[in-house]
């Protein structure tokens, strides 16, 4: 298992619980020397990461069901959760273990899905490659297992694997009496097999590198499809892999482009945006309705959809510069969001792309309800949380936890400190607080003209809001100009690459891959910061293709 050395180092330092060390780490947030040079030099040589065993995320599971068994099935209400790791769910699923409860949930899911398929003759017929003459038709059942199993497991089943599943299906057919039952009980084992739930990446010798290894064609096909489509490979990709065609660089590039051009690429782009920007957290958005009259329990879902559509629009509809995500003066709004933005509603239902005219300061991601509400408290804004979001997710700075035992109280309003900025000034006077707050709060003050769910306010506690500040040496006047500053930051550029790369390989990134990230960052920059182009570059990178030495058989820790 790869260990994320970068974050472990920080964690080790903090566990010393030493304020001085902690402050030094916080300082690193804005040390200009830590910024990448942005000049194409000799990149550190790639040391491929060891093979991983990613588990399907919840999204992978659902999309596999839809792609292989067809839409319209009731998906399981709960599955083993995907804990974020290195800020991404896809990485967490490679690290986390399946709990005993998780096993029950997977078993329930397999039985429920199989029963639903068996209950629909039309669906059954579409999935069967032949017409069984009865529940004991082993030949036809075998053909079904081979066909559907290959899609679900992303590889051809061995003869023995197929035979074992056919045995179960035959036993079910005999005991329960119908063809549908036989097919149902062929699906149950297919849907809870480790070959389905895990992506086994063992690799094979790489003829192009002395002593090196690469993912096999099938393994690479799976990695590519889950990255670009957020779902399983289709038959064409599996066919190409099985025929050995994916080992050819040109053929591989053609497949990468085919996947990127397919409608299913929207799923991949949306999933990346969801994980990178922490939009999954919006499901639990919690605001006091007495303070925020525009809050309703489904606001989080609207806010999430707005950002997903924006990223999708920039990356795929326009194939445009991702920096627009931070600078765009348009928004995708439904009626609920339009009301919060004080813009006219466009349609009774659904989303529409509108130009923001009422408050020109509202720009891009940082002006969305998603960001402004997520990084706030239930009854107030939080410059600290908003600054932390920018640091962590847009600049990939490491922000340590506050030391335990500190009084982290937000200072109460007083006659001399009414506004949020004035109240937080108290933190600057205490050295242990200031060491971190000075890297977070000044960013967060930029958003103080937007309340805890993102509505405009000209004043805070009756005082006009001062939104100016500095970020890593650059000055900004307000939300809009801060967005522009971040968009131009080399840290933002590298951060997108770092997250996308980790999302693509679906495991913690290792130190030996730093050169790949650097190189891809430069490619991203020279290509005009187009996300689709970056996805293509990642999929074609050596870090994506190659793998470290396999584990010795039977090794134990």
């Amino acid at each position: 298992m790869a260990v994320p050395v970068r974050s472990t180092r920080a964690a080790d330092a903090i566990s010393g619980a030493c304020l001085a060390v902690w402050a030094a780490i916080a300082c690193a947030c804005s040390d200009p020397a830590a910024e990448p040079a942005g000049v194409a030099e000799a990149y550190p040589v790639l040391v491929p990461a060891p093979p991983a065993l990613p588990r399907l995320t919840r999204a992978h599971f659902d999309n596999t069901v839809v792609d292989v068994l067809g839409g319209g099935l009731t998906l399981p209400p709960q599955l083993e959760p995907d804990p974020p790791y290195d800020e991404l769910l896809a990485v967490g699923a490679s690290v986390a273990q399946v709990s005993p409860r998780g096993v029950e949930l997977y078993e329930d899911a397999a039985r429920s899905l199989a029963a639903q398929v068996a209950a629909e003759p039309a669906r059954l017929q579409a999935l069967l490659p032949c017409t069984p003459i009865g529940p004991e038709d082993a030949t036809c059942l075998g053909a079904f297992v081979a066909k559907v199993g290959r899609r679900l497991w992303r590889r051809p089943l061995t003869g023995a694997e197929t035979a074992a599943i056919v045995q179960t299906a035959l036993a079910a057919g005999k005991a329960l009496g119908t063809v549908a039952h036989a097919v149902q009980w062929a699906l149950v084992p297919l849907l809870q097999a480790p070959a389905f739930l895990y992506r086994v990446e063992r690799g094979e010798p790489d003829p192009s590198v002395q002593g090196g290894r690469r993912l096999t064609g099938l393994e690479r096909a799976g990695r590519l499809a889950f990255f670009v489509w957020n779902g399983p490979p289709d038959d064409a990709l599996l066919d190409a892999a099985a025929a050995g065609k994916l080992d050819d660089a040109q053929a591989w590039a053609a497949e990468v482009d085919r996947l990127l051009a397919a409608p299913k690429a929207r799923r991949g782009v949306r999933q990346f945006a969801l994980e990178w920007l922490q939009l999954h957290e919006l499901g639990a958005l919690n605001k006091d309705p007495k303070v925020y009259k525009h809050f309703s329990p489904d606001l989080g879902a609207s806010a999430r959809e707005e950002v997903l559509r924006r990223v999708e629009h920039i990356a795929l509809d326009q194939d445009g510069d991702l920096r627009q995500l931070l600078t765009s003066d348009h928004a995708f709004v439904d009626r609920r969001l339009a009301a919060i933005y004080e813009e006219p509603a466009v349609a009774d239902t659904g989303f529409a792309d509108i130009a923001l005219t009422v408050h020109p300061e509202r720009r891009g991601l940082l002006g969305t309800v998603a960001f402004l509400a997520l990084a706030s408290h239930p009854i107030s804004t939080s410059p600290t949380l908003r600054g932390m979001y920018v640091r962590k997710h847009l600049l990939c700075d490491i922000v340590p936890n506050p030391p335990a035992g500190l009084n982290t109280a937000l200072p109460e309003p007083s006659t001399t400190a009414k506004t949020m900025r004035e109240r937080l000034q108290a933190h600057m006077a205490v050295k242990s607080c200031a060491s971190c707050h000075k890297y977070l709060d000044p960013i967060g003050f930029a958003f103080e003209r937007f309340d805890g769910i993102g509505r405009w306010r000209a004043t805070d506690a009756g005082t006009p809001v001062d939104t100016s500040g500095r970020l890593d040496g650059a000055t900004f006047a307000d939300l809009a100009s801060l967005g522009a500053v971040i968009a131009q930051s080399p840290k933002f550029r590298r951060c997108v690459v770092q997250r996308l790369y980790a999302f693509a390989v679906a495991r913690p990134v290792t130190d030996g891959e730093a050169g790949e990230i650097d190189r891809l960052s430069d490619t991203f920059a020279s290509g005009g910061m187009r996300l689709r182009g970056l996805m293509r570059a990642v999929a074609r990178s050596d870090g994506f293709r190659r793998v470290g030495a396999g584990a010795p058989t039977g090794a134990t820790p």
Binding site: I14, L53, Q97, V98, P100, E104, A409, L410, T556
Partner: protein, 440 residues
């Protein structure tokens, strides 16, 4: 022990369905709820319940004034008055783990006695949480190894080991379906013949074998992940084997009323108390019907920002931002302790022999910190209810004179429910001795 020969269903895969009557197994309970064997001294099986709420309490209003027998319930413990003679309140102890990640470190410390593993923003327990440690022993003989649930949806802190936690159920209706509808046979009734059970078991058996094959091909860390998964597969297989058994009637067993499918927010506030009450009843009867012997109730999570009824803002926010003496935080703590009382009430309502279910088990109520404002791990909140069949003292407040290690209490609990442990916790949190003052 092979159970296959005892299942009612035989020879399904051969095509013949034959029901076979069998003598009761040793691990079944008789009608009075006492075990044929392997129970406590009183014959009742040992059970354990964990009740966890987030964000701590206010030590000054929490700690009962006097110690030992003449103690009185403090302000914050008033809701537990009906159970005072079955409580042991322990104050003044301290967690022996570093407080690296406020809140989560405390949860790991009190529940596992081990420092939290911190890798970037990913945090993991380093070993099993108390409920799972106990379930490994008490969960072997029942339909469910353990049940995890909580009124506030969240991930809970029921850990099997590093990076492996059991997701709690957040819908009482779903938990009810799981325990009392799907595959449930009331003790004393004859189970309905279910020909799919044998199929399910054979599928799980095959899945287990496939996992072993993959195991040989992956690195050490992934082997551990597969081993954990494999253990879950085997456990489920074993549990399915039980579903066609015919345990004798249990006097205490009753199927509770079906809970509502939904608990919609009221005035923007989640109905945590109502949900918790439903969970409490389901869990009590899950124990009474011997479907499970270990549960954990994750009422709210560390750092939760729940808007409680009457509160001006979220719980976590108030713990840090409300001025002393924190009247709103106090009111929320009362809500949490009232929820603990509701759990105890449901357990005490089940008659078992001359006593109640609560007497035959022990419930630990605790949180992730003591004084939330400063994330303190001293003066840790610990409430024990039930004597585990006379193994633990009750109606007592023990105040540690010298900030003893909280792990001592945890070790006492483990031993009271029948675990043969030499120690609990690691490093500074390790102890080889229980807390004598609460052991009977």
């Amino acid at each position: 022990m092979s159970l296959h020969r005892r299942t009612l269903l035989k020879g399904l895969l051969g095509g013949a369905v034959v029901a076979v009557g069998l003598p009761p197994l040793e691990r079944f309970l008789n009608a009075h709820g006492t075990a044929y064997a392997a129970g406590g001294d009183d014959g009742f099986p040992r059970r354990f319940g964990l009740f966890f709420w987030g964000n701590g309490m206010l030590p000054e209003r929490w700690t009962p004034k006097a110690s030992q027998a003449d103690w009185e319930l403090s302000d914050q413990l008033q809701a537990l008055a009906p159970f005072k003679n079955r409580l042991a309140v322990i104050t003044g102890t301290k967690l022996g783990v570093p407080n690296d990640v406020p809140h989560t470190s405390g949860a790991a410390g009190v529940l596992s006695g081990r420092p939290l593993i911190v890798q970037g923003s990913n945090h993991s327990f380093a070993g099993p949480s108390l409920d799972q440690l106990i379930a490994a022993k008490l969960g072997a003989d029942t339909r469910f190894r353990s049940l995890e649930f909580g009124a506030k949806p969240g991930d809970g802190h029921s850990w099997n080991g590093p990076n492996s936690r059991n997701p709690p159920e957040s819908s009482p209706f779903a938990l009810y379906q799981r325990v009392f509808v799907q595959g449930f046979t009331k003790p004393g009734d004859t189970p309905k013949i279910d020909p799919t059970l044998a199929l399910r078991r054979s599928v799980l058996d095959a899945v287990g074998q496939q996992m072993q094959a993959i195991r040989a091909q992956v690195g050490a860390a992934d082997q551990k992940r597969l081993d954990q998964h494999f253990e879950g597969v085997r456990a489920l297989e074993n549990r399915l084997a039980r579903l066609q058994e015919s345990p004798p009637k249990l006097d205490a067993c009753k199927v509770p009323a079906t809970p509502p499918a939904d608990f919609p927010d009221v005035a923007g506030r989640p109905q945590l108390a109502e949900k918790n009450k439903a969970f409490a009843e389901i869990s009590a009867y899950a124990l009474a019907c011997d479907q499970v012997r270990v549960f954990s109730n994750w009422f709210t999570a560390p750092v939760n920002n729940v808007l409680f009824p009457g509160a001006s803002t979220g719980h976590h926010e108030l713990t840090h931002n409300e001025g002393n003496p924190q009247p709103e935080v106090h009111a929320i703590t009362l809500h949490c302790i009232a929820a603990l009382a509701a759990q105890l009430e449901a357990l005490a309502a089940v008659q078992e022999g001359a006593g109640t279910l609560l007497d035959h088990m022990v419930v630990l109520g605790t949180s992730d910190v003591s004084f939330g404002k400063v994330h303190s791990l001293e003066e840790f909140p610990l409430v024990l209810a039930g004597s585990a069949g006379g193994k633990l003292k009750t109606n007592v407040h023990y105040r540690s004179p010298a900030s003893e290690n909280t792990s001592k209490v945890l070790l006492s609990i483990c031993r009271a429910v029948g675990l043969d442990l030499a120690s609990f916790g690691v490093d500074d949190a390790q102890t080889k001795d229980g807390l004598g003052a609460i052991e009977a």
